[in-house]
Amino acid sequence: MKLFKNCVERLCRACLVMTAVALAACTSSDPVQQQSRTVASAAQTAALVTDAWMAGAAPARYTAATLQSLAETVTGADRQLRSDASPEPGRRSEVSAAMTRLSTAVKDAEAAVKAGSRPQADKARQDLNGAMADLTVAAARYDQPQS
């Protein structure tokens, strides 16, 4: 019993020291890069779920709910990006503009699914592709070192 207690106490002390080391070892990445990745992933999900709906493999209710949730994610990331104080507002606004276009495309896809309109969904899908390409370019430009 005493041995067990001592063992636990010593290990707890060792844990505290290791926690401090682990905390120091961890680093967080740039918020613009982080938000861009979140939005890119959400956009790819939107494309996949819209394709699945158009192929008759995903129910409309589920597709619409997913697109609605994804639109909220994109809008939230965009809002957060705009509220962040950044030393490079010009480059950041390009990323933000691409996110806004993406958000609109996802909302259009959601509206198309709710209306049950395949042509409308097809159009939203094309807009999604364009906006995703814009985001990729804007994010890559943001990553480049400024001359």
Partner: protein, 406 residues
């Protein structure tokens, strides 16, 4: 012949009961972001749980004590209080996450928001525990859980590069998102080495009246059942890597993304299979964890317990699972995101491991309890390794939660 049937049934129930929202969500997130690179953590977690489950079953079969009983008796109530409180808290979070899993399945199937499903799910689970027997809970629901094998079928149908899968089974350092990589590794380990799994198993052995003649059965169930169960988790990870990851979906932080793992493979049936897998697997886990809470507290306080007895004969035991289920449903009913809760609770589970695993080293080497069936050198090395792993996980979980958590 009877033993062979028992082994088969035990293996099947272990397989059917292995996957739950924790292993599903963590494997999906890991596969989407890191491809096959985190398969090693599923393999490691599975090997660890095989050892712990075998020891828990052996301890119960030989000593006729559950692990919780043994800890309380061997170390005294004061020492037992810490693992008791920690496990009750961790179980509570995991129970809530599992109720969330069933609720999400309800939302996906009907479109009615998951919050509305939490209390009905809790009620149905409670009713089954109140009216049902241990056999029904253990075998009935786990048999239905075999639907989760669809992930293994899907993984095979996707024709992965098996060489790459094998490479992923060996630990490697990440090339990107280091904190996230380790956080996911910790979460997968937490989902695989759940204390409720081995504690429930030891209580189940007592419920099923195991004795020394069941030691072979125990070894076969622990080894085969958990290995096949781990294979399902690897299946989820492979499918996530080849479907979500390949489509550029690197972040799985919305539960609506999860059905997309199976839809491109099975079409509309993929959606149905996913909803059924999630609902059944999580419902089975709800029943097991709620029972485990009752076992733990009843055994800790020396109350009478047993799922096969009428609730009026075990009022304390029945009250604990009743209260636990409804309390755990409240956070989900209030709208707490089940996926976030799941990932968080898996990490906390990993952090709590030392408190529940350290006693194994003492109990399984105590002649008074296990006599000649004490741990051999391999089992002792395994326990020491798991304890060390548990302490490392306990240390790194919180910093990783802050920097790598989703």
């Amino acid at each position: 012949m009877k033993k062979l049937l028992e082994i088969s049934l035990g293996v099947v129930t272990s397989v059917g009961g292995f996957l739950e929202i924790g292993s599903m969500a963590t494997a999906a997130q890991a596969g989407a972001l890191f491809g096959f690179q985190l398969i090693w953590s599923v393999v490691l977690g599975t090997v660890c749980i095989i050892f712990l489950v075998e020891m828990a079953g052996r301890f119960a079969a030989v000593s006729r004590h559950t692990i919780a009983d043994g800890i309380r008796e061997r170390f005294g109530f004061n020492a037992f209080l810490w693992p008791l409180l920690t496990t009750v808290l961790v179980n509570f979070m995991v129970l809530s996450a599992e109720i969330g899993g069933v609720a999400i399945a309800g939302e996906l199937a009907t479109g009615i928001s998951f919050q509305w499903w939490a209390l009905p799910v809790a009620f149905v689970a409670w009713l089954l525990l109140w009216k049902g027997t241990f056999g029904l809970i253990e075998k009935g629901v786990s048999m239905l859980g075999l639907v989760t094998l669809c992930f293994v079928v899907a993984a095979v149908m996707l024709k992965p590069d098996w060489k790459q899968v094998a490479v992923g089974a060996a630990p490697s350092l990440p090339s990107h998102d280091t904190a996230n990589y380790w956080f996911m590794a910790v979460s997968i380990l937490g989902a695989s080495i759940s204390p409720y799994l081995f504690m429930f198993y030891s209580s189940g052995a007592i419920e099923d009246r195991w004795d020394k003649s069941y030691l072979g059965t125990n070894r076969a169930i622990a080894g085969l059942g958990m290995s096949f169960g781990g294979t399902i988790s690897v299946g989820v990870l492979i499918v996530a890597a080849l479907v979500l990851g390949a489509h550029g979906i690197s972040q799985v932080d919305d539960y609506n993304q999860l059905p997309l793992m199976l839809i491109p493979i099975f079409g509309f049936w993929g959606f149905v299979l996913f909803v059924a897998s999630l609902g059944i697997a999580c419902f089975g886990a709800v029943l097991e964890i709620a029972l485990q809470q009752a076992y733990l507290i009843a055994q800790g306080f020396g109350w009478t317990w047993g799922e096969d007895s009428k609730p009026r004969d075990n009022p304390g035991f029945a009250s604990v699972y009743s209260v636990s289920i409804f309390l755990a449903a409240i956070p989900i009913a209030l709208g707490l995101d089940p996926l976030r809760l799941t990932v968080f609770s898996m990490a906390i589970t990993a952090a709590s491991l030392p408190l529940t695993v350290v006693p194994f080293l003492f109990l399984l080497n105590d002649k008074h309890y296990v006599g000649e069936h004490r741990n051999g050198i391999i089992s002792n090395i395994a326990v020491i390794f798991i304890i060390t792993l548990g302490f490392v996980l306990a240390v790194v979980t919180i910093p990783l939660q802050i920097f790598g958590g989703t």
